[in-house]
């Protein structure tokens, strides 16, 4: 199964190169990749409920993270949708952007996204899932911002990335908490992050269960555009239409729903899970449907209805009964088909007429008959009109709610309201662009090329086909998917006509009523549209998007202020800041070492202490010296005294080197600094006192650090080995020398290189001066 994910990623990498070779045919050639994958996945059909194949490759065994993949009803359905719609979108994109030089990039990014999505749905390890989840965020960022020369595309892409990325962080935190809880409830390390294993233990009693649940749900909501995190999805409509058709119908936004469905067996016993999903889903369903009615841009109408449907799916998973899961399965597949088709049709209409404004499009049936028929079919599917697949979904949805005792009435009211709005909008999408008077300015409209018709037509016909013969779907796939979501065996038997029973008749009655009211609303919508649009825009300005804008602006302002505060350009402040940080960071650990350090006893001799005192006096005199040259001389004396200390404590090589280097340093500094003005006091007296205190405190910390080294006992094996090998192996008696020129000769080579580079730098600086003076002289 790893190959299924790697092949599209490899194809993505090859796409720009293939575009150079094949020009516009690249999309058709690359579409073979998802088609082949879809066929490979489809060989598993028909799927028995509960059947699953797993594949585990070791990745990070220490953490128990493995490349574990799982193919069951849920992931197989998603895999087919991702590959099937992906192939159609690639074909569509090839025609849509035939002459665009960036077609190769678009195809590559679409394939990258496809691979990432497949990774999400096939992962059986929560952390592998998370990695692919983030990859989809990144790929969608690149796709939404595809027209990166436009400001609004960049803004929308960044908004989508920030919202879904923040949700991704919440998801990661939630997953970590979940695995901690699972390991404390007795799962072994290699099982703890495996989704299929998490369902086998009851975590609901663990203290981390609720935080994990909330964080994971937050991550899923951000990805699936649930209120109040929905605002990025309509804005993402600035992307090219093939991208919208792919990301915002069947894949990216469904990833959140997928995660909820996947983890439903883990959290399904929790009341909080059900309430949270039901409430958020219901609110999202209704509000998004209302906001969709106030849009004039065809793609934005579709985007808001997508948000509404995502809300419905979330709510259904939250309801969690057998009927609800069945409804979610049907609704999810039906929506993926008709929404992808409608997005592609929106793109075709824009391609043909140059506009996406729903008020300007009209009378195009004669010019674009195939597009029109596909569009009408898809829209009727969206409206849930019989005998399409959407109708079955809606019937199930209503029955699922009738099934609930108390909440049912409320949910049915909300769902019916949302449904009326969706039906009216579906009729708008089906009727306005194609019928009525041919609008002026679009007389040149023409039928879309074959490849742009293929996708919508196939998807629309699929909806009709599955609606008429639903048995093929539920026996092949539906039952297995529902079983995977609920964790209990579910057998689906979908029918268009449910016979005569109170529940079936009630559902049918509500369905007919919503269709009628929806139709009535549709008839008045043209008059009301302007008013609704103004109201929606007014609400939108105060909504969560406003919060996002404020947060974003304040984030930028904070970054600017922090930068101004810390990046002053003043060396003096930098040094002070570093020293203060050092003091703060080291204080506590050093205090903890104190008991051991205070026990230290050591022998000392008078001459040694005298030497140390002399060194100190030399350094102090150098610090406070008013003359530059005497300071240099005093520093030289200090260095020489340190050389003597080296000699006293068994380091003759260090003493020799130090003496030589010290002599060189003094000569060099005198030469360089001979012609400079006297020291001037740049600082005020107060600043000097503060600096002295900071320096003293930092010095005390360093002294403490030396003392603290006494508490650390490293085993001297390396030193002993080097000392033992020195004579027999390297034929040298001085171990320090042997280390430098033999055992660690490469390090010494590096050291010499540093000295050489520094020498070159010094030379260049001096030469530069001479040359500039020479130039000035000639000028």
């Amino acid at each position: 199964m790893l190959w299924v994910i790697l092949i599209p990623l490899a194809a993505a990498a090859a796409a720009p190169l293939l575009h150079r070779l094949l020009r516009a045919h690249v999309a058709a050639v690359l579409a073979a990749v998802p088609i082949g994958l879809a066929l490979a996945i489809a060989t598993r059909l028909p799927l028995e409920p509960g059947a699953a194949w797993t594949e585990v490759l070791p990745w990070i065994p220490d953490l128990g993270i493995a490349l574990a993949f799982r193919l069951d009803g849920l992931s197989l359905t998603f895999g087919l949708l991702i590959c099937g719609i992906g192939a159609l979108v690639l074909l569509y994109a090839g025609a849509y952007m035939r002459t665009d030089s960036r077609l190769g990039r678009l195809c590559g990014l679409l394939l990258l996204f496809l691979g990432a999505m497949l990774g999400v749905v096939f992962s059986d390890d929560v952390f592998v899932l998370f990695v692919f989840w983030e990859l989809t965020s990144i790929a969608s960022y690149l796709l939404i911002g595809f027209k990166h020369e436009k400001q609004d595309a960049r803004d929308a892409a960044r908004q989508a990335l920030l919202v879904t990325g923040a949700g991704g962080l919440a998801l990661l935190a939630g997953l970590v908490l979940l695995t901690i809880a699972a390991s404390q409830m007795g799962l072994s390390t290699d099982q703890v992050s495996r989704i299929s294993a998490l369902t086998t233990v009851d975590l609901s009693g663990h203290v981390l269960f609720v935080p994990a649940l909330l964080l994971i749900v937050l991550g899923a909501f951000s990805k699936s555009a649930q209120m109040p995190l929905h605002f990025w999805l309509p804005n993402a409509m600035t992307a090219p239409t093939p991208v919208s058709a792919y990301l915002h119908s069947a894949t990216m936004v469904k990833a959140g729903v997928f995660l909820l469905a996947r983890l439903n067996p883990v959290f399904g016993e929790s009341l909080l899970w059900h309430l949270l999903l039901m409430a958020t889903g219901a609110v999202t369903m209704l509000v998004a449907a209302a906001m969709a009615a106030g849009q004039t841009d065809l793609k934005r109408i579709l985007a808001y209805t997508t948000v509404s449907v995502l809300g419905t799916l979330t709510m259904l998973i939250g309801v969690g009964t057998e009927l609800a899961i069945k409804a979610a399965v049907v609704y999810l597949v039906a929506h993926a088909c008709y929404k992808a088709a409608l997005f592609m049709i929106a793109g075709s209409l824009e391609h043909a007429t140059g506009t996406r404004d729903i008020r300007q499009l009209s009378g195009l049936f004669r010019a674009m008959p195939v597009t029109a028929i596909s569009g009408i079919l898809a829209a009727l599917n969206m409206a849930g009109a019989p005998p399409l697949f959407g109708f079955i979904g809606k019937e199930l949805l209503l029955k699922a709610k009738l099934d609930l005792e108390y909440l049912g009435v409320v949910l049915i009211l909300i769902a019916s309201l949302a449904n009326v709005l969706l039906i009216a909008l579906a009729l708008v999408v089906a009727v306005w662009p194609f019928f009525g008077r041919r609008c002026p300015g679009v007389t040149l409209a023409h039928e879309a090329p074959l490849l742009m018709l293929l996708g919508p037509l196939l998807l629309a016909v699929t909806g009709l086909f599955v609606g008429l013969i639903p048995g093929t779907f539920d026996s092949a796939l539906g039952s297995a998917m529902a079983t995977a979501i609920s964790g209990r065996p579910i057998v689906m038997e979908l029918k268009l006509w449910h016979g005569v029973s109170p529940v079936a008749l009630t559902a049918l009655g509500i369905s007919a009523a919503t269709l009628t009211v929806g139709f009535a609303l549709f008839l008045r919508l043209r008059e009301w549209l302007a008013h609704i649009a103004i109201a929606v825009a007014r609400i939108g300005r105060r909504g969560p998007a406003r919060v996002y804008d404020l947060l974003f602006a304040s984030g930028l302002a904070l970054a600017e202020r922090v930068t101004r505060l810390t990046e002053t350009g003043s060396l003096h402040q930098y040094v002070r800041l570093v020293l203060l940080a050092l003091i703060v960071a080291c204080l506590y650990p050093l205090i903890r070492c104190f008991p051991v350090v205070s026990q230290l006893s050591s022998s000392w001799h008078w001459h040694e202490v005298l030497l140390v005192l002399l060194t100190l006096v030399g350094a102090a005199a150098a610090v406070f010296s008013r003359s530059r040259l005497s300071a240099i001389a005093l520093l030289g004396i200090t260095g020489l005294l340190i050389a003597v200390l080296f000699a006293l404590f068994s380091a003759p090589d260090l003493a020799i080197t130090q003496i030589m280097v010290e002599a060189l340093t003094v000569i060099l500094l005198v030469l360089i600094f001979y012609r400079l003005p006297q020291f001037t006091a740049f600082r005020t007296r107060l600043a000097r006192v503060v600096d002295a205190l900071v320096a003293l405190a930092a010095g005390t910390i360093m002294a403490g650090l030396v003392l603290a080294t006494a508490t650390v006992h490293l085993s001297p094996t390396v030193s002993e080995q080097l000392a033992r090998m020195s004579k027999p192996e390297a034929y040298g008696r001085n171990v320090v020398n042997v280390i430098l020129v033999d055992f660690r000769a490469m390090d010494t080579l590096g050291e010499i290189a540093v000295v050489a580079v520094a020498g070159l730098g010094v030379y260049a600086l001096i030469k530069l001066k001479r040359r500039r003076r020479a130039e000035e002289g000639t000028a």
Partner: protein, 115 residues
């Protein structure tokens, strides 16, 4: 003696920090020099202080006498002495150039990249 050395290291660091905090770029160079000494002595003290028994193999035997001073810190310090000299030389020439170009040795007046 270890405690005395620790005090010396602390005092050298304090002196170096005080010079680094001075706004004069020349004092900055002096501070760098003292900082190098302090760091070397830190490593030296941490490696353990041993009197009159360097890690040298006497003639006639194959290994240094037991209780010899640890050779690895010494090798590290030897490298550090040479490198800090190279860095110091470069920094000193740079400071000199900066003074010649800008006419000041006050680091606060060198805050911008513009002339």
């Amino acid at each position: 003696m270890f405690v005395v050395m620790a005090l010396l290291v602390g005092a050298l660091y304090a002196a170096a920090f005080y010079l680094l905090l001075a706004r004069s770029t020349v004092k900055l160079i002096f501070g760098l020099l003292l900082l190098g000494h302090a760091a070397n002595l830190l490593i030296f003290s941490a490696g353990g202080l041993v009197r009159a028994n360097p890690a040298i193999v006497p003639s006639g035997v194959e290994a240094p006498l037991p209780g010899y001073a640890d050779p690895i810190p010494q090798a590290l310090i030897l490298t550090a002495i040479v490198i800090s000299f190279a860095v110091l030389a470069f920094a000193a020439v740079l400071v000199k150039r900066a003074y010649v170009e800008s006419g000041t040795d006050d680091s606060e007046e060198m805050r911008t990249t513009e002339q």
